[in-house]
């Protein structure tokens, strides 16, 4: 009987988790096929004729409200901007962060921990504290409104995150495995590339996904440091609210579309995430 009670509790836990975390998501998805009239009801409508108007509008960038006005959205450009900013940031972060994480994990060197802590401390410099001076300097040196500048600033968010997560994974790899590879006649770089990185892959994958999400969702840096030409979806989606309506369906639709790239990335990465480091002898 004891087994059954545990099993029941487990099922209940699954249901509770799915309800709390996924019901709002399902509802957002649902709303993206509704008109505002259907969304804004005292008693929610469950059966309605799904409309693709929101999706079409987003894609075409032009939403005509008959006999009233035409609303323009730049969502496609926002989406492209988000992609450029996020992919760019994560790439730079991987390039800079993975070797640094390795060094912190593997070597004890003078000032090493200080450097690691300093890098972490960038993470807790409140954005509000630095944003105005940053804007001032970027304007002065002509970096205002450039992808380059934003990708640079995004490193403050993504780099420490990746560094401190991946570092732990490198620490879990027995150094002997790398030494063995060196003794086989491979250079440091080869051992780093073929041994250390593959073995830390789940950590790198998880960290990259999180970095991507944080870059994708960033709001304030892009808003202040860029013109509307390079704004990501987070800023762009706010412009759906007009003086004549809060188009919740459109907002929901924007959320669905803006989440898709991240979701696809997560599905792609999940192979590494769930694979885990189940390789047994990794810890020496």
């Amino acid at each position: 009987m004891k087994f059954n009670i545990w099993f029941l509790l487990k099922i209940l836990a699954y249901i509770a988790i799915i309800m709390f975390f996924l019901f709002p998501i399902a509802w957002i998805f649902n709303m993206s096929f509704m008109t505002n009239d259907e969304i804004l009801r005292k008693v929610p409508v469950l059966f309605y004729e799904p409309t693709f108007k929101n999706y079409i509008g987003l894609w075409e960038g032009e939403i005509a409200i008959e006999g009233f006005a035409t609303m323009y959205v730049f969502f496609k450009q926002n989406l492209i901007n988000s992609a450029i900013l996020s992919v760019g940031s994560v790439s730079v972060t991987l390039l800079l962060g993975v070797p640094a994480a390795y060094a912190f994990a593997r070597y004890k060197f003078k000032g090493g921990e200080d450097i690691a802590f300093t890098l972490l401390s960038f993470r807790f410099a409140p954005a509000l504290l630095i944003i105005l001076p940053l804007n001032l300097y970027f304007s002065k040196i002509g970096l205002y409104d450039s992808y380059f500048a934003l990708i640079w600033v995004y490193q403050l968010i993504t780099l420490p995150l990746l560094l401190w997560i991946v570092r732990g994974y490198f620490e879990d790899i027995s150094p002997d495995i790398e030494y063995a590879y060196r003794l086989d006649g491979h250079s440091w770089f080869q051992s780093f590339w073929r041994i250390s990185i593959p073995l830390a892959k789940p950590g790198i994958a998880a960290a990259s996904l999180l970095c991507f999400i944080y870059a994708w969702n960033n709001f304030v840096f892009a808003l202040i440091l860029g013109s509307s030409q390079i704004q990501p979806v987070t800023v762009g989606a706010l412009a759906f609210i007009t003086a004549s309506a809060i188009p919740y369906g459109l907002i929901a639709c924007g959320i669905v579309v803006s989440v898709l790239p991240t979701l696809i990335l997560a599905l792609f990465i999940q192979k590494y995430l769930v694979q885990g480091l189940s390789l047994g002898a990794i810890k020496g």
Partner: protein
């Protein structure tokens, strides 16, 4: 060719010698559709301007950049922008940001002293910050300079209260528009705070729009009490977020209607006046109304939720910007679109007319601009009489700031056609409308604190004590900057 005949017809129309209806009839006769007519009209306006004794091409080839808020005004400007480009040979770029973040963007951009943007949208209150900070150019330097301003611009055509509201001397307590004021911005479109109500609901309840604040409270209570069996959910929509935006619309309009002021001005020294007995009584009435029959989540309500609720039929009436009602009434995506009535509201039983506080979307010129003269070309075009007319008649530039637009039959037709009662609301309110706040540098600090105090009162704090606390807090803030 019919086009040339049509052009002359348009000229006649533009000179005010032909009504819009006649023009449309003529166009129909020549087989010209509405779209083509619009285009033709734009061209004709442009050519009319181009014919002036004014060098519109002076800045040909110059590119200016605007920082704009996402707004119907902006949309109507963009729709006409090609005409400006054709007229001047200039190029115009613009950055548009959502209203939620727009002013943060402006503050960041201007505080950096960057010459990125030449002109931008602003509210009058914001220039109480931007002006003293040295971010805005004084537009008097341009308006008064006949070399820079085209002869038909006619600044005095702009509603006087609004022109005043957009200027200030920078001295705390000085009224906007008083002697020594600098024209920090110029009005582009504005809002009066009045009552918009759901006619269907009011008919069903057998009511007329409220005559004063007490009646409004009673009516709102009726709607809230009877929400269960009806479509609506509550009686009265007003803003309630912890922000200056909660104070300036309906609340301030009503406050002023009772003859109350935010500060006592003793020769440039300001003393908070929110805790006068009359003010306390007013607050009690107001808090009673929103507590008993405002939205259940009032303390988070922003303008777009106020609009959304009446648009979706949740609230029976709102006391907020008239254009909010106008726009939500016009957008057929809203369930209750077309059902709204408009009502110039006099909260104080002993007052004779409404005294709406105004919100003015304005245009300002960045003091850091390296192309001020060129930017001015765009500005005088943008709210010049021709474009204002085009915006008012063809687009959604409501409320227009020029008397000439209000006087035009076409605009009148359009408004009466789409929103019955709106004109009456406007006419009854406009004379008493102005900025009822005391102009002073801590406008945002004091109004935000005020809103926070309102929230506290709404959730049960003692009104008298809360207001005393608020007043002493504001006095302290004033003292810190040497104004008390």
């Amino acid at each position: 060719m019919s086009h040339s005949k049509m052009k002359s017809a348009i000229d006649t129309f533009l000179k005010g010698q032909m009504s819009r209806r006649d023009l449309l009839i003529k166009a129909g006769r020549y087989g010209i559709g509405f779209a083509a007519l619009t285009k033709l009209m734009g061209m004709q306006v442009t050519s009319a301007l181009a014919a002036q004794d004014f060098d519109w091409k002076k800045h040909s080839g110059t590119t200016i950049k605007l920082l704009m808020n996402k707004h119907p005004y902006m949309d109507s400007m963009i729709a006409e922008l090609d005409n400006f480009k054709a007229l001047t040979g200039m190029n115009v770029e613009y950055d548009i940001f959502a209203e939620d973040v727009y002013f943060d963007k402006v503050t960041a951009a201007l505080s950096s002293g960057s010459s990125e943007y030449d002109a931008f949208m602003t509210g009058a209150y914001m220039t109480w910050t931007y002006g003293p900070a040295g971010w805005c150019a004084d537009l008097n330097d341009f308006i008064q300079d006949s070399n820079k301003t085209n002869p038909s611009y006619n600044w005095n055509d702009v509603v006087g209260n609004l022109r005043d509201a957009c200027s200030w001397s920078g001295v705390a307590g000085d009224a906007p528009g008083a002697a020594g004021s600098k024209q920090w911005c110029m009005p582009w479109g504005f809002e009066l705070n009045s009552v918009t109500y759901n006619q269907r609901y009011f008919e069903k309840a057998g009511m007329k729009p409220p005559g004063d604040l007490v009646e409004m409270t009673d009516q709102a209570e009726y709607f809230t009490k009877n929400a269960g069996s009806n479509e609506w959910s509550y009686g009265i929509g007003t803003r309630g977020s912890r922000s200056w935006a909660t104070i300036h619309p309906g609340f301030m309009s009503a406050y002023a209607n009772y003859g109350l002021t935010d500060f006592e001005n003793n020769g440039g020294k300001l003393k908070a006046a929110m805790n006068s007995q009359a003010s306390k009584d007013f607050h009690k009435q107001w808090v009673k109304m929103i507590s008993s029959s405002g939205p259940a989540n009032w303390s988070g309500y922003t303008w777009y939720e106020v609009g959304n609720d009446i648009g979706a039929g949740a609230s029976a009436m709102i006391f907020d910007a008239d254009i909010l009602g106008y726009f939500f009434n016009g957008n057929p995506d809203n369930k209750e679109a077309g059902n709204f009535g408009f009502h110039g509201f006099t909260p104080n039983p002993s007052a004779s007319a409404p005294t709406p506080n105004v919100w003015i979307w304005s245009l300002a010129m960045s003091n850091f601009s390296k192309k001020k003269d060129a930017a001015w070309y765009w500005m005088q075009w943008c709210n010049g009489p021709e474009n204002a007319m085009a915006g008012g008649v063809k687009h959604n530039q409501v409320n227009p700031v020029r008397e000439s637009v209000w006087a035009s039959g076409d605009f009148d037709d359009k408004i009466r056609g789409t929103s019955p009662g709106y004109m009456e609301q406007y006419n009854s309110s406009i004379d008493g409308s102005k900025i009822h706040f005391t102009a002073q540098p801590l406008f945002f600090e004091t109004t935000t604190e005020w809103a926070a105090a309102l929230q506290e009162m709404q959730t049960g704090s003692n009104v008298d004590e809360t207001l005393d606390k608020l007043a002493s807090k504001i006095d302290r803030m004033m003292k810190d900057v040497g104004l008390a």
